[in-house]
Amino acid sequence: MTKMKWFTYLLSAIILMTFGLIFFSTVFLSYPDVLHSEMSLYYLDHLSLTKAVNAVSAILLDFRAYDTLGEILVLFATISGVMLILRRET
């Protein structure tokens, strides 16, 4: 029984790692300069426009604030769905 469990875990790990490698190599081979693209260099060079030191916060809430707005609306919709489905009949 335990041998079967370990075999299942090992198989799952191998499958997951294979999928990860496939996706990573697909993106990385399609765009070889994805790590040094023009866009990321622009963000880092114009960081002083936002008066934020943290580059992640600057991108999330200033350069791409529309993205964060959409994300907030998605969270709102998720909670509305959870409250609709899991409500108590009292």
Binding site: V53, N54, S57, A58, L60, A65, L69, I72, F76, V82
Partner: protein, 127 residues
């Protein structure tokens, strides 16, 4: 359901957890972190309280959490449209980034705590 060990640990660890969550939110534009991360830490604190002291007194707070959750969206849009008044695009740079961080933090805290409470209090319908 509640245990003495969990309650004591919660009482000791809770001030530091809340302080760290608030720090991660309001220093989100300076140090690593931000609204989402700090909100998740605060929601973890809320889950700890619910685990330690039971779910009996929670329905009183759930309406407040729902107000925070729904009001966060409106407040985000409102703060974003302040920049329109000075003839800049929507959500443009007016150094509103820390305020938006705080709003997102409050919203994520309320939302994740609500999801946890709803899933934890759910029981199978009797038939």
């Amino acid at each position: 359901m509640t245990s003495k060990i969990v309650q004591t640990t919660t009482t000791i660890i809770l001030p530091f957890l809340l302080l760290f969550g608030v720090y991660v939110i309001i220093f989100g534009h300076i140090s690593p972190g931000g609204g989402f991360q700090g909100g998740m830490i605060l929601a973890g604190a809320a889950m700890l309280i619910a685990l330690a002291y039971g779910f009996d007194k929670l329905p009183r707070f759930m309406s407040h959490l729902q107000s925070l959750e729904a009001g966060g969206v409106l407040l985000f849009i409102f703060v974003g449209s302040i920049t329109v008044l000075v003839w800049l695009p929507f959500l443009a740079d007016l150094h509103i980034l820390p305020i938006l961080n705080i709003i997102v933090g409050i919203k994520v805290f309320a939302g994740v705590a609500l999801i946890y409470i709803f899933i934890a209090r759910w029981e199978l319908p009797h038939d």
